[in-house]
């Protein structure tokens, strides 16, 4: 894992921490962006961590691009030696898998899909070697996920599951992107799950929908009053399968502005995780019980 630095025009430094995805690459990208924030380099205007890379936007009228690059590179030693653990929170996200709305949408865009004969869940279960959709849902909702990036559109979390590499679910994106995706769709592309914060175009496979809003530009939803976006990189998520009645009840609670997401403080250590994944995940999930 060796970082590669390059310029995105005269206003951005782009750093690929690793070509492939791993929790190590994500932790390093997050440490680097934290280090850039703390070092308060003059001229930095945006600090954007991503899954296995990061981007710094700067004003070249204040700092020359080569100087900016040198300042960031200086922080790499510090970031590499940073403790790979963090105090964070775990959030339970209820999901109605196989819901009628994403089903209607995926049928509408079937000709853009690899396998027009089935659903996105059928296809994803099969190519990942699961005997049934239920087994596949059990795997998707069985272990926690890291929010490894927020973006694409406002407040959309990319999620990476805390399981062994061989247990990672991998699916291709649609052959051609859809022009529509229901709001709050739980999607999947590459090795990432996501939650579509707004309705719109999308290329990820669609598995279900959550009743829990994660973006509110009006800032009227009680838990989004302080800030309109719910997730930040480093949050942990546990998907919890729910049935239609529970979904409807949750939507009613959201509409009455009485919905409260289940959130617990936890500490995640990459060393503990690598030493015993099962025990680490059990501890994280235990916090939600």
């Amino acid at each position: 894992m060796e970082s590669r630095y390059t310029f995105g025009g005269d206003e951005h430094v782009f750093c690929e921490v690793d070509t492939e995805m791993s929790l190590e690459a994500f932790f390093k990208s997050l440490s680097m962006t934290n280090a850039v924030r703390e070092s308060q380099i003059r001229g930095v205007t945006e600090i954007c961590p991503a899954n296995a890379s990061f981007q710094i936007k700067f004003d070249p009228d204040i700092i020359k691009p080569d100087d900016m690059l040198a300042e960031i590179k200086k922080l790499e030693v510090q970031a590499e030696n940073a403790e790979s653990s963090m105090d964070t929170r775990i959030v339970e996200v209820p999901v109605l898998y196989n819901d009628p709305w994403t089903h209607e949408t995926l049928m509408r865009f079937r000709e853009r899909h690899q396998d027009p004969s089935g659903t996105d869940l059928d296809y994803s279960a099969r190519i990942n070697g699961y005997g049934s959709v239920d087994d596949f849902i059990a795997a998707h909702s069985g272990s926690p996920w890291f929010v490894s990036m927020v973006g694409f559109v406002a407040g959309l979390p990319f999620l990476y599951q805390t399981v062994e590499r061989e247990k990672q679910i991998e699916v291709p994106k649609y052959l051609r992107p859809r022009t529509d995706t229901p709001k709050l769709t739980v999607g999947y592309g590459g090795c990432f799950s996501c939650i579509y914060s707004v309705r719109g175009a999308g290329g990820y496979q669609m598995f279900g929908v959550t009743p829990m809003p994660i973006f509110d530009p009006q800032q009227q939803i009680n838990y989004l009053r302080d800030f309109m976006i719910f997730f930040k990189p480093g949050d942990l998520v546990k998907f919890s399968p729910i049935d239609r009645d529970t979904y409807d009840a949750a939507v009613e609670a959201v509409e009455a502005n009485e919905y409260e997401p289940k959130i617990r403080d936890v500490r995640f250590s990459l060393d503990e995780f690598n030493a015993d994944i099962t025990a680490c995940n059990a501890k994280l999930e235990g916090a939600l019980k």
């Binding site: 390059t6 310029f7 995105g8 025009g9 005269d10 206003e11 951005h12 782009f14 690929e16 690793d18 070509t19 492939e20 995805m21 791993s22 962006t33 205007t45 945006e46 600090i47 954007c48 961590p49 991503a50 899954n51 296995a52 890379s53 990061f54 981007q55 936007k57 070249p60 009228d61 020359k64 691009p65 080569d66 990036m149 927020v150 973006g151 694409f152 559109v153 406002a154 407040g155 959309l156 990319f158 590499r165 990672q168 991998e170 291709p172 994106k173 592309g189 590459g190 090795c191 990432f192 914060s197 707004v198 719109g200 973006f215 530009p217 309109m228 976006i229 930040k232």
Partner: protein, 321 residues
């Protein structure tokens, strides 16, 4: 206040943009031709960064409820006050009860309509700009619609002020857009890389505030590589990362897309370089089918072009300040 009788094709409130939230997927937004936006404001006596209306391809029809001074810059959309033609890049008066409308588009793509006092919608996260995808900022988070009543601030402008034609910028034909290669440029074969600059591309109909798509050039050929874990199955896929403003992604290697001010902040497509900051204004003035040549530059050339643009904006401030 102004009443929207007809919104045009896509007219939205924009200023110099919203900064500091790209890491959460909220792009900067703001006028796509920032030079024209600032000039329009200065012509009517506003601060250069006041909020204006950005009209795309077609002008709106607006009824004024109070006297105002107005200037229209950018695209060649001739303004008319109760049917009487006015000059572009020049301030003129609109009286209470009069209607501002526009002739058809004769050049460019986006006109900036500055009104003395500025458009006075609420500031959201530090800006009045509209980010339509996030339903954020501007007038109710969306482009204008018929029947909207848009608030305007108090201001005092002077009619008859104009900006010398030498101080305006517009894309040529073919449009020459300068590019700093990088990011994942090393994925492109030498032959294909040379072809990218040699080809004449054309702006596709899919060209909006999020990004500009281009057609007509040869598909990109990729160097042989192992597919990294998590990147996806297409040779143009990367592990989802950040997208710089102006970055050029080529999904599937076929049609380049340049991300602009309402950019998606990240995703899974490789980028072969980035349009230099000095040329982003020009893209905002390109119509579909505009022939386009990408021109490779070095960082030093990019910085020189940036300095030239900054100096030009300085001269505009001096002329109109």
């Amino acid at each position: 206040m102004i009443k929207v009788l007809n919104p045009g094709l896509a007219t939205s409130v924009q200023d110099m943009g919203r900064h500091g939230y790209y890491h959460l997927g909220i792009p900067q937004s703001g006028g796509m031709d920032q030079l024209a936006l600032q000039a329009a404001n200065l012509l009517v006596g506003n601060a250069a960064d006041a909020a204006v209306l950005e009209a795309t391809f077609m002008g709106p029809e607006l009824e004024f409820t109070a006297d105002a001074v107005v200037a229209v810059t950018g695209a060649a959309l001739t303004p008319k006050v109760d049917g009487a033609e006015q000059a572009n890049w020049e301030s003129f008066a609109v009286k209470a009860g009069q209607v501002l409308s526009f002739d058809y588009l004769k050049g460019g793509a986006r006109a900036y309509i500055a009104i003395s006092g500025g458009i006075d919608v609420p500031v959201v996260l530090g800006s009045r700009s509209t980010y339509t995808l996030g339903a954020l900022g501007g007038f109710k988070g969306r482009p204008l619609a018929a029947g909207d009543e848009v608030p305007v601030g108090q201001g005092k402008g002077t009619v008859g002020r104009s900006l010398d034609a030498a101080m305006r910028r517009a894309p040529g034909s073919p449009a020459e857009i300068r590019v700093l290669p990088g990011i994942y440029w090393h994925w492109v074969t030498d032959k294909s890389g040379a072809q990218f600059y040699a080809d004449t591309w054309k702006v596709a109909p899919e060209a909006d505030r999020i990004g500009y798509r281009f057609r007509g050039g040869q598909p990109i050929e990729f160097t042989e590589r192992e597919r990294p874990f998590g990147a996806g199955s297409d040779p143009s896929n990367i592990v989802d990362g950040c997208y710089p403003y102006g970055s050029i992604q080529v999904p599937g290697g076929t049609e380049p897309i340049i991300l602009h001010r309402d950019a998606v902040s990240g995703g899974g497509y490789f980028m072969l370089g980035t349009v230099i900051s000095a040329d982003m204004d020009l893209i905002g003035q390109m119509q579909p089918h505009t022939p386009t040549q990408f021109v490779k530059v070095t960082m030093d050339q990019a910085l020189q072009a940036r300095a030239d643009r900054t100096a030009l904006i300085g001269r505009i401030h001096e002329a109109l300040g």
